[in-house]
């Protein structure tokens, strides 16, 4: 499983380099290769995740490294689904290296023994981890698209020239990624929070323990709820939505991963 994870990480890195070559040379072949590279990386990573149960002892799905690895996998799948229809190859230049770092570091710290192994405590822990990680992955894509949007918006406003080769995706494409990632990612995060409470209920008989992780996650969820309302009901503009996505994801990352690491 570790070898497969590291192979997937290497393929993601190669895809990132390919995408970078594609936009700097520029080379359509390198850009297309990068997209196929991401797809291959996702396939290998899927194989790694699918063979988790064959390990002895079976690693815990609730461990942070595995959750991060799954989060990256979902994010890459989402991006690939978008790339079929929208010119987003530029994003692969960032997504590739980010996926490499996340998956490679996760592979180094995959625990050899689980504290709550698959199947030992029912379906709730799995549902909580998978839904939360998938939500985080999508909101992460929304954050990256937001960063790109703000850079491109600033460049166009300031009338700064850019080489055709270095061109980023259009503002409209980035905004579409942003809004779709929020539309899918926020409900997944919500389900993740609900299943987390259900898990706690099944283990300790309470829905709220007041831990730092729970508190910060709930605050982050509240922030995202506000962003979703502003975007879908308050008709928030694309630039404000991009800035919100960046700030929201930074906070969410701190709430879910940062607090866990600091604890």
């Amino acid at each position: 499983m570790i070898e497969l994870q590291q192979t997937a990480a290497a393929i993601y890195l190669a895809a990132g380099v390919g995408a970078l070559m594609g936009i700097t040379l520029p080379s359509v072949r390198a850009s297309r290769g990068a997209v196929w590279g991401l797809a291959l990386g996702a396939l290998v990573q899927a194989a790694a995740l699918a063979t988790l149960h064959r390990q002895d002892p079976v690693p815990s799905l609730t461990s942070l490294p595995l959750a991060v690895s799954f989060m990256v996998w979902v994010a890459i799948l989402f991006l690939l689904a978008f790339m079929w229809r929208v010119r987003l190859t530029g994003l692969a230049a960032v997504a590739g290296p980010v996926a490499f770092l996340a998956v490679f570091l996760a592979s180094l710290s995959v625990p050899s023994e689980g504290t709550s192994s698959i199947g030992s405590t029912g379906p709730m822990p799995h549902a909580h981890v998978l839904l939360s990680s998938a939500g985080l992955g999508l909101l992460g894509v929304s954050g990256i698209a937001g960063v790109f949007f703000l850079l491109e918006h600033r460049r166009i406003k300031r009338k700064r020239l850019v080489s055709r080769g270095f061109r980023l995706p259009s503002l409209e494409a980035l905004d579409r990624v942003n809004v779709t990632a929020l539309a899918v990612g926020f409900p997944l995060l919500t389900l993740g929070v609900i299943t987390g409470s259900a898990w706690l209920l099944s283990v300790e008989g309470i829905v709220w323990s007041g831990s730092e992780h729970e508190t910060w996650t709930l605050i982050a969820w509240g922030i995202y709820a506000g962003l979703a309302v502003a975007r879908f009901f308050g008709h928030q503009g694309a630039r404000q939505a991009a800035a919100s996505a960046v700030a929201g994801f930074a906070f969410l990352l701190f709430a879910v991963v940062g607090v866990e690491l600091l604890a």
Binding site: K159, S170, H235, Q240
Partner: protein
């Protein structure tokens, strides 16, 4: 056969002179030129920026005079050059490899006024097609133009010479594509109905723009433009309402007051609920309040911004043309190799004819002296033919295999000297007159190096 090119372009003549030499009836002009005895094949390229004639000839000096006369009388109508001066001050002339290089550079748009522009290739293809239809383009110029088109394709694909837009209209469209992913579902509002607006509208339509709305102070002009581009015409008072559902605004209308103020757009943006709008102001004085660019979700570019982008892009194209020059040089060398191989054909034919003449002469002499019967004569004939073939095979194979220009020409000259092909007193030289006549009638004779009568004289 020599290649000769005489031309006039934006580099050599001002527009008032070029106008004088504009070709009206291409077919008639081409036929008139090809009828001249000194001209072999001919292609006439005529665009708004250049008039060029490419011909093949065995008499370069005489053909040169024919081309000058053709320019002066047929194209220029035998009238004095505008602004004084002489025709020679405004034309350029290239021969052989220089002509080949020039044709390749022109087809690749390296020599164009706007470097990398795509129209010239189509215009050269039209010129070539016309020459083929008129029967004035033979194997040599056909090959030259085919290679020119291949060179242009390589330059386009292997460099960034045509990547960046250089016209204001194309720059505007390019900027729109940086904001909007797809123009097919976008609506554009044109304020004005002049030439600039039409050019931008044309460029947007080519990119698949969804809906076109045209607003003008004179409704009739707006309606005429709307008819041409399948859009809708509106009165100038409808701008505020149209802004609510418009994604791209292009403005170029006369007047010293802005037709669109920051306040107006602010109201529209609130109603648009955050949807972005791209505004292009091509008017002088400006038609759109510059403060609009400070509003969120509004992106405004004026004519100076567009010109600046266009100039920078043009500079980039010029830099890329250096890479194009390298490709032209490679292709020119390849063409030169082909030309050498082509020039080897008459030398090979000449050598074979001489050898056959010697063989048959000597055979006749021996047959009558030895008194051979039919069967014996056939045997001797086969024997002599086999000896000649075996002797000539190595030199003929070497001549046919040459593709490098310098080496190929040297080998050709060496072969002609060794076999005394240019000596009219050498054995078998009687066949030369007959051979030249046959090849002249065939019309495909390519004179070997040094055999040009003018050069010899």
């Amino acid at each position: 056969m020599k290649i000769l090119l005489l031309g006039m372009s934006h580099r050599s003549a001002p527009v008032e002179v070029r106008e004088q030499f504009a070709v009206e009836d291409h077919t008639a002009a081409l036929r008139k030129l090809a009828d001249q005895e000194e001209i072999g094949e001919a292609v006439l390229v005529s665009t708004c920026n250049r008039v060029e004639v490419v011909v093949t000839t065995r008499q370069p000096e005489a053909a040169r005079h024919v081309l000058h006369r053709f320019f002066h009388v047929e194209l220029g109508g035998d009238t004095p050059i505008a602004g004084g001066g002489h025709l020679d001050d405004h034309v350029y002339e290239y021969r052989d490899q220089d002509a080949v290089s020039h044709v390749f550079r022109v087809a690749s748009a390296i020599d164009s006024m706007v470097v990398g522009e795509p129209q010239i290739l189509g215009q050269m293809k039209d010129a070539y097609r016309l020459a083929r239809e008129c029967g004035t383009c033979g194997p040599l110029l056909s090959r030259l133009f085919q290679r020119a088109f291949a060179t242009a394709k390589r330059v386009k694909n292997e460099t960034r010479i045509s990547h960046r837009p250089v016209s204001v209209a194309r720059v505007a469209v390019d900027l729109a594509r940086q904001i909007f992913e797809n123009l097919a579902d976008k609506r554009a509002l044109m304020i004005g109905a002049g030439e600039m607006i039409e050019m931008a509208l044309f460029a947007l339509q080519r990119e698949g723009l969804g809906e076109r709305r045209i607003v003008n102070r004179t409704p009739a002009r707006a309606e005429a433009l709307a008819d041409r581009y399948r859009g809708s015409a509106h009165g100038i008072g409808e701008i505020a309402e149209l802004l609510l559902t418009t994604d791209i605004v292009l403005s170029c209308i006369a007047g010293d007051q802005p037709v669109l103020t920051s306040g107006q757009l602010e109201v529209a943006l609130r109603a648009r609920r955050g949807r972005p709008i791209f505004l292009i102001d091509m008017g002088v004085p400006r038609n759109i309040d510059p403060a609009i660019n400070d509003l969120d979700n509004a992106y405004l570019y004026d004519i100076d911004d567009l010109q600046e982008v266009a100039s920078t892009n043009e500079e980039e194209r010029r830099r890329e043309s250096l890479a194009g020059e390298r490709i032209v040089l490679e292709e020119q060398e390849r063409f030169a190799g082909w030309l050498v191989a082509l020039q080897a054909v008459p030398t090979i034919k000449h050598l074979l004819a001489r050898a056959e003449k010697i063989r048959t002469t000597e055979l006749e002499r021996s047959v009558s002296r030895l008194g051979l019967d039919g069967a014996q004569r056939e045997g001797v004939e086969a024997l002599t033919r086999a000896i000649v073939n075996k002797l000539l095979h190595p030199p003929l194979a070497r001549l046919g295999a040459q593709t490098d220009r310098e080496e190929g020409l040297a080998v050709l000259e060496e072969a002609r000297a060794l076999f005394a092909l240019d000596d009219p007193n050498a054995p078998g030289a009687e066949v030369d007159v007959l051979l030249a006549e046959v090849e002249r009638r065939a019309g495909t004779f390519v004179a070997p190096p040094g055999s040009d009568p003018e050069e010899q004289s």
